[in-house]
Point group: C2
Chain length 212, copies 2
């Protein structure tokens, strides 16, 4: 019984995942995304990570720092991919397609990190240690804006929408894609093919209007 209690929620057998900090981050991200940062307790996070709550404080100084660490991990995965995609050759609409592809890939690969960042990170924006998160967020937005502006300049993207508006629409669609609770309900089959088609709708909607 003690054996079963001490290492609960085992990760898939083939994956040892011996790093405690990473285990804690995984558990925290899922808990934050599912129950909100206030609904997630250090006890349940620790439980999912296979330890007791006080042990978390050997790796992270506070709950807020845990929240910030999840955000940092997310941007560490996203920013380099976005930068690379924005530098690929092709027309504006093609580069935007690359951006959507990599952003969707990163966010569906780490859905809980994405949702934690979107829904819970506003609360710790002004906390010490969160400055880099704000900077990374602005860096990402700047990349999207630049690519869209260039697409509008070369005529491959419609000009009646602001880069900010289009960025927001794409970002919010990706956020919906990562929502594990609603995915199954509404999407039914979360197959990659379906996701690609949804991205195609966004891209086709972003092209210049016919005859215009």
């Amino acid at each position: 019984m003690n054996d079963e209690m001490s290492r609960r929620r085992g990760r898939p057998p083939g994956k040892p995942e011996t790093n405690p900090a990473e285990r804690i981050l995984d558990a925290a991200a899922e808990s934050f995304a599912t129950h909100g940062s206030r609904g997630a307790s250090m006890r349940t996070i620790a439980d999912a990570a296979g330890m007791r709550a006080p042990s978390i404080y050997n790796h992270f100084a506070s709950k807020d720092e845990l929240l910030i660490a999840v955000g940092k991990r997310y941007f560490a995965a996203l920013v380099p991919e976005l930068q690379a995609a924005s530098r690929m050759p092709g027309s504006g609409v093609e580069r935007l397609e690359h951006l959507i592809r990599v952003a969707t890939a990163v966010s569906t690969a780490h859905p809980f990190d994405h949702l934690t960042m979107v829904r819970e990170l506003m609360q710790v924006r002004r906390e010490p240690g969160a400055e880099s998160l704000v900077a990374d967020g602005q860096r990402c937005i700047a990349i999207w804006h630049l690519v869209i502006r260039r697409g509008q300049a070369d005529g491959s993207l419609r000009r009646d929408i602001t880069p900010a508006g289009m960025t927001w629409l794409i970002f919010t669609a990706i956020t919906g894609l990562t929502d594990p609770g609603r995915r199954a309900d509404i999407l039914g089959d979360p197959s990659t093919r379906n996701v690609d088609t949804l991205c195609a709708v966004l891209i086709d909607g972003a092209r210049p209007v016919r005859g215009g």
Copy 2:
């Protein structure tokens, strides 16, 4: 001092809003949407509604019931509008445009109700009293699916996306539109014109692909 404390956060002077239950619902929706259902406390909700926490229990039996009441108010505003829009004459894509228009109007008119429903209502799905919420949600989804299927049948909507996928994409875009925290950051100017253009992107993306 007691005078200032007892009736805090006054609504606009011209609006008496004497109904306590409605005041509580307004305060609860904003608090739920902003801080999450766990981050929102009965004390702060009561404070925003101009009363003390125990007084809320004269109108709602528990915090969960308050959450459910917000969801009910949202669907009471949305469902009739969706039904009316789905019955308007025209092609499938035109009816879908009507749906998007009324759904956007309702959700931006009651953004906190919408966000509360989206983010926090999953937790009380199986609570007694929440059955009608689940039913209303399924009713809305059915309307969207029907309109989209008809549009695909009459050739005014692309056929390579499932009704569920398109519904989800639109719904998630509307959710993003209601987010008061991010609206200003990303959209910049929350003017109606901008919102209409974003809806146009969705509609244009949903039309049959060119040459196909």
